[in-house]
């Protein structure tokens, strides 16, 4: 990000300097010797540079458009040939000379093509591709390295990168749950902890990750919220941690705890959820009401809350009851 910012600044300042320099240069060379009034010569130089800039803009645009289209056509053609050669390798043909000649034209495209093919193929076809890849001098990481790299990219990247990679990682969820995820959860860096929790939440698979409960006591409220969101997908999650979270100082943590209680169907927490209906934060009250609505004796407790004297609690309870009655809990 820093590099990008520096490049934008450098580019902008360079153009500004060229622009001012061009006006000065044109003024000195072309107009100053002919016009004695300084303002007039400067204005003419200015106008001259404007006209040249406009012509360059429009001309450059069309040239660039033409070059871009030509390059795109060539690249498409090359990619098609690479695909054909790789398909040949996959079915056992000798395509090495052809791939070598394609590599001379664009090493990057061949590397990309082989990388994508190795990632999607299995069995003999994949072995043949790996052999050709090493003959071409392109090193392919093994599965373990690949998985480590993918997980590393997802854990170290931002939420966007994680959201993109999470689907690919899901195929290896069980392996990751025994190794990389616990390591990330034990990390001192909150962003690694958050990343691991995000993955658990996104996969929505019941996994044996006992350390999630420990993270519920993390000093960072954002991490605690993520942990509560991931908790329903952890095998043997206990109610005590959620109970404590229902009394957290942060309203968002309390709301997340109420949601987790509902998802985990923690009937032991129904009394605590009834108390949460009167929480000063309305989001917490609503979350508690929706959680109660899915617990075994929750509907009766919601009905009691509706007829009770506490108006916000009654409002939240009424809304949850309405959603249950209309069968709209999924959309709530």
């Amino acid at each position: 990000v820093k590099n990008v910012r520096v490049r934008v600044w450098v580019g902008t300042l360079a153009v500004a300097m060229i622009y001012v320099g061009a006006i000065d240069f044109v003024d000195i060379v072309l107009f100053s010797p002919r016009f004695t009034v300084r303002a007039l010569s400067l204005a003419l130089a200015f106008a001259f540079v404007q006209v040249v800039a406009i012509v360059l803009f429009v001309g450059g645009l069309f040239v660039r458009k033409w070059i871009g289209a030509r390059r795109e056509r060539r690249s498409l053609q090359l990619q098609r040939q690479i695909q054909e050669a790789l398909a040949g390798v996959a079915i056992g043909q000798d395509e090495l000379p052809r791939l070598r000649s394609l590599m001379e034209r664009s090493r990057r495209d061949v590397e990309k093509g082989i990388g994508a093919a190795v990632a999607t193929l299995l069995g003999d076809a994949r072995t043949r591709l790996l052999t050709v890849s090493s003959a071409l001098g392109i090193e392919q990481p093994d599965d373990r390295q690949r998985l480590d790299a993918l997980f590393g990219a997802a854990a170290a990247g931002n939420l966007r990168r994680r959201a993109v990679l999470v689907e690919q990682l899901e195929h290896h969820a069980l392996i990751l749950a025994y190794d990389q995820i616990p390591r990330a959860l034990a990390s001192d860096d909150p962003s690694f902890v958050t990343a691991a929790l995000d993955m658990l939440r996104a996969w929505k698979r019941m996994l044996p990750v006992p350390d999630v409960e420990k993270v519920l006591r993390h000093p960072d409220a954002a991490v605690r919220i993520r942990a509560l969101q991931a908790l329903p997908y952890v095998v043997n999650a206990t109610h005590s941690a959620v109970f404590d979270a229902l009394h957290d100082a942060h309203a968002e943590v309390r709301a997340a705890a109420a949601v987790a209680a509902g998802k985990l169907r923690l009937a032991e927490l129904s009394d605590a959820l009834v108390r949460a209906l009167s929480d000063p934060a309305r989001d917490v009250a609503c979350a508690a009401a929706f959680a109660l609505a899915v617990l075994p004796d929750g509907v009766a407790k919601l009905q009691q809350a509706v007829s009770g004297g506490n108006r916000p609690a009654a409002g939240a309870a009424f809304e949850a009851l309405e959603k249950v009655t209309l069968g709209r809990m999924e959309l709530a």
């Binding site: 500004a16 204005a43 689907e167 309305r282």
Partner: protein
Amino acid sequence: VSAYELFLRAFFFAEAFIIIYVAAINAIYLFLVVMGFFALERREPVPRRERDALLKSPLLPPVAILAPAYNEAMTCRDSVRAMLGLRYPNHEVIVINDGSTDDTLQILIDSFKLYRSGRMPTGSLPTKPIRAIYESRDPIRLIVIDKENGGKADSLNAGINVARAQLVCAVDSDSLMEEEALLYVVEPFLEDESTVATGGIVRVANGCRVEGGRVVEVRAPRHLIPIFQVIEYLRAFLGGRVAFSFLNSLLIISGAFGVFRRKAVLESGGFLTTTVGEDMEMVVRLHRLAREARRPYRIVFVPEPVCWTEVPENFRILKRQRNRWQRGTLDTLMIHKRMLFNPRYGVVGVFALPYFLFFEMLGPAVELTGYVMTIAGLLLGFIDPQLAILFFTVSLLFGVLLSMSAVVLEELTQRRYPAPGDLMRLFAGAVVENVGFRQLLMIWRTQGLIDGLRGKQGWGTMERRGFGSRP
């Protein structure tokens, strides 16, 4: 020294000041356009595969689309359908019927099988009384709030109170949204969790082929007035806003399409109901609060087109619109005047706000004064005609260069006008708009400034056709 000579000296001093002022405006604008170009060039396009993966991801935050509606009976059904049909895994639509006097509410009730719901507002922003909240019996996420008339800002506040999603997206109900608009504007929230607001490009829909509430074919408008506005929008969005966003000093997120972190808006006290520039005021307030609290934050402009709006095709409505925008800018600057030149507010205080004060707010008045003085000077023989013509030419060429840059920027980065004829039309418009149209806008904006200083309030008569959003 005679009085006449003193007058002449004062005249030339004022004229020189105005020339330097106008040159400074244009130079800074050109600088912003160049910066915008480099910032856009460095931006890597999101591959289709990645976008598809994102659209399936459960990690995307929920978004509530807030669509205030006032007498939208003609279009509300199609608009709501288009909003519900946006490609995003987790969004709900909240229509706020702002005391419409036509059948807007009844049409929504009948079309989407609405029932009176017990949904509880969880936010506590003050608003006009809510009469009822409706939800659909169908498996769609649609909520309709029926409230007493209070204006757009009041409606948005009511919507924020009722919404429960982390992000709220304020839209104009007559805007046409891109199918993946929400994904584009949510991306900065995923990239940096300190992001509090994002906005995207609002494009001109005049001339485009529209089907089922979506723009299906992009064409340049046939008439001159909307063509000029296409160029103006491109210049404002691709040049100015990209650069301001790069400097984290973006002051305007268009009211037609902007996404905000709900928590941040609630903490800031919601949209201000006493100004016509509630979109700009909200963004400036978010800057102010974050900088006062010394919190890291980002307000980001997304260069991808997110929605299309119909711009005025006649001068009467255009004049009213520009007058309102100018008053909105003035309001915001007056409300947040203590941020001006204040280094405590970083680049917002020392660059963005002064830029808006001197160039966006006072600029038109100063430039107009320059035109009047030069013409008067010519007629009275104070100024050499050749020199006057030269300065007019320079000013014109600078304007043409800026407008052309915007079209070039569009073609280099977005390429939304595939037909070569359209591109030529835009280039022609970039030249012609500098002769007459720009000067006309200058007059209207100056009038807006005067109206604002006189305390004129209100949006004027609402007319659906031709009502656009601030570029």
